[in-house]
């Protein structure tokens, strides 16, 4: 039981949090701009690289920055990149068929990844130098059964961070004028336009929120795996798409639920449910998200929360 919680459930939740943050951006752009943004994973990756660069730079100046502090300028730059890319690379295709924009985003994915490889090189970089404290970083909590549930600090931070971002995001969507306008545009862009909503300014804000969540996901992923590399964004793009589809396209809260489910599913299938061997070898982990996505598209394409079907 304890082993299950410590080695499967908690890591599953952590992975789920990262997927959930990534899926928010995907589902928002898919719901409002009607295209699957392949470059979304690269925004996460760029955010993680920028964060590492600020940490590295400040370490050189004799100041050890926490990743979450170094992520602040990274967020600002990544959001700037997102808005810039939308303005000059996606907006000209606003009235074209969605497949054109999907291909544009695929191209943008390659451009961003190549740029990162030119600047930082193609190899893995250790994200957190010298603070790998395998035992010291373990938080101990005693459950009522007198057993130990161990949550590493980084996992606690990722989960608390995700909850804080979700609460803020929920507040924005349900209680601010811009958030309600985002939901309105997602529901029906033509009606939003005829109601006097400036759809282009809503779209800009979509990129801001999507970019913010993407950088958070990228930094959390780097904190969890303790390294960064240029393909890290692409590797988690599939489970993120799966999470967005599972939750229902255009449903941000669905994306969060979808992310948590996919993250948990990926970890839990490796638990020795029957006998002593893992139910499914961890090597097939990434296949799980794909399977859920395919089944969902066949059985219930609108997702758990009745999203859009294009």
């Amino acid at each position: 039981m304890l082993e299950f919680v410590n080695f499967y459930f908690i890591p599953g939740l952590v992975l789920g949090c990262i997927y959930a943050l990534g899926a928010i951006g995907v589902t928002l752009t898919f719901g409002i701009l009607r295209f699957a943004n392949f470059a979304h994973g690269e925004v996460m990756m760029v955010g993680a690289f920028l964060t590492w660069t600020f940490m590295d730079f400040m370490t050189g100046a004799g100041l050890a920055l926490h990743p979450l502090v170094a992520a602040i300028p990274a967020v600002v730059i990544a959001i700037g990149v997102s808005v810039f890319v939308d303005r000059y690379f996606y907006r000209p295709f606003r009235k074209s068929s969605p497949i054109i924009v999907v291909i544009a985003s695929f191209g943008m994915m390659l451009v961003l990844r190549s740029l990162v490889q030119v600047i930082w090189g193609p190899n893995q970089i250790t994200f957190v130098k010298g603070i790998a404290k395998p035992n010291g970083a373990i938080r101990e909590a005693t459950s009522d059964m007198g057993m130990m549930i161990l949550v590493p600090d980084k996992h606690l931070l990722i989960m608390v961070g995700t909850i804080v971002i979700m609460l803020a995001f929920n507040y924005i969507l349900t209680s601010t004028r811009m958030g309600k306008a985002m939901r309105a545009v997602s529901d029906n862009p033509d009606l939003a336009r005829t109601s006097g909503i400036n759809v282009e300014s809503v779209i800009r804000n979509i990129w801001v929120i999507g970019g913010f969540c993407a950088v958070a996901a990228g930094v959390f992923l780097a904190m969890d795996t303790q390294f960064i590399e240029s393909t890290m964004g692409f590797r988690i793009l599939l489970p993120i798409f799966a999470a967005a589809i599972l939750g229902g396209i255009g449903r941000p809260f669905g994306a969060v639920a979808g992310g948590l489910i996919i993250g948990l599913a990926e970890e839990l299938v490796a638990y020795p449910w029957i006998g002593d061997a893992p139910l499914i070898s961890p090597g097939y982990k990434s296949g799980i998200a794909f399977m859920i996505m395919v089944v969902m598209l066949i059985v219930r394409p609108s997702g758990l929360f009745r999203g859009k079907v294009f």
């Binding site: 309600k180 939901r183 997602s186 009606l191 939003a192 336009r193 005829t194 109601s195 006097g196 400036n198």
Partner: protein, 249 residues
């Protein structure tokens, strides 16, 4: 007709390449109810959409309150005092009734509680359902939400595209009487309606469009009495209503 609020001057245009409207002219005076009737595919909804910048207007001009609306974006048209209620998909289904009304007031930065009170006064059923998602309401109630949303900016002119399409007779009567009430508040109304007899009954004036051109115009009563119009839409005991699918013309 000394004063004109809305003036379509020989409008020609369509959605894509082909023209649907050919040299269509119309006028709406302040405080008037004007109805557009005509057979399916006559361009009734299209004429209305031309006002709202939803059409490629290739000829003619649209003047509202002395300003040229031709070629403006929908949000710029709203800003000038025209609100539009489309025939279908006219509410934000996942937003609550209250949020739908707030979206109608998106362009306002001041206190909107007066406008909300006025809308809830016109549509009492909406007040009880204000926290409910608009997508869960009945067709008639959705129409109320859509009209309420359009009234939040205190427009000078309200465009209604077949507000009674697909509604039960009970709701139809209710919508027509609400249209009268809104008009009594001083809002001019330009309305497309399949239900020609009832619509002409409340219209100050009406236009008959056929094949994208003006065929007749006159007061509601004149058209009701016109034998040709009667034959076209009101005739022989047959209901005048079509199948309600006229929006796509």
């Amino acid at each position: 007709m000394s004063e004109v609020l809305l003036h379509l001057q020989g409008v020609t245009g369509g959605y894509g390449e082909a023209d649907i409207l050919h040299d269509v002219s119309m006028e709406v005076a302040p405080g008037e109810v004007v109805v557009i009737v005509g057979p399916n595919g006559a361009g009734k909804s299209t004429a209305m959409k031309s006002v709202f910048g939803l059409l490629n207007v290739r000829g003619g001009k649209i003047i509202f309150d002395g300003q040229d609306l031709t070629g403006l974006r929908p949000d710029e048209v709203v800003q000038r005092g025209v609100s539009y209620v489309p025939q279908t998909e006219n509410v934000f289904p996942s937003l609550s009734v209250h949020e739908n009304l707030e979206m109608g007031a998106y362009l306002r930065n001041d206190d909107i509680s007066d406008a909300l009170e006025r809308v809830y006064g016109l549509f009492p059923p909406l007040r009880e359902k204000r926290r409910q998602a608009a997508g869960t309401l009945s067709g008639g109630q959705r129409q109320m939400v859509a009209m309420g949303r359009a009234l939040m900016l205190d427009p000078k002119l309200l465009l209604l595209d077949e507000p009674t399409a697909g509604l039960s007779p009970l709701y139809m009567d209710q919508i027509f009487s609400i249209v009268r009430e809104i008009n009594a508040l001083g809002v001019a109304i330009l309305m497309v309606e399949q239900n020609a007899k009832q619509a002409l009954g409340i219209a100050h004036r009406a236009y008959v469009l056929v094949d994208g051109t003006n065929r007749h115009d006159g007061t509601g009563q004149e058209l009701l009495d016109d034998p040709e119009v009667a034959e076209m839409f009101l005739g022989g005991g047959k209901p005048a209503a079509g199948d309600g699918s006229g929006a796509a013309e």
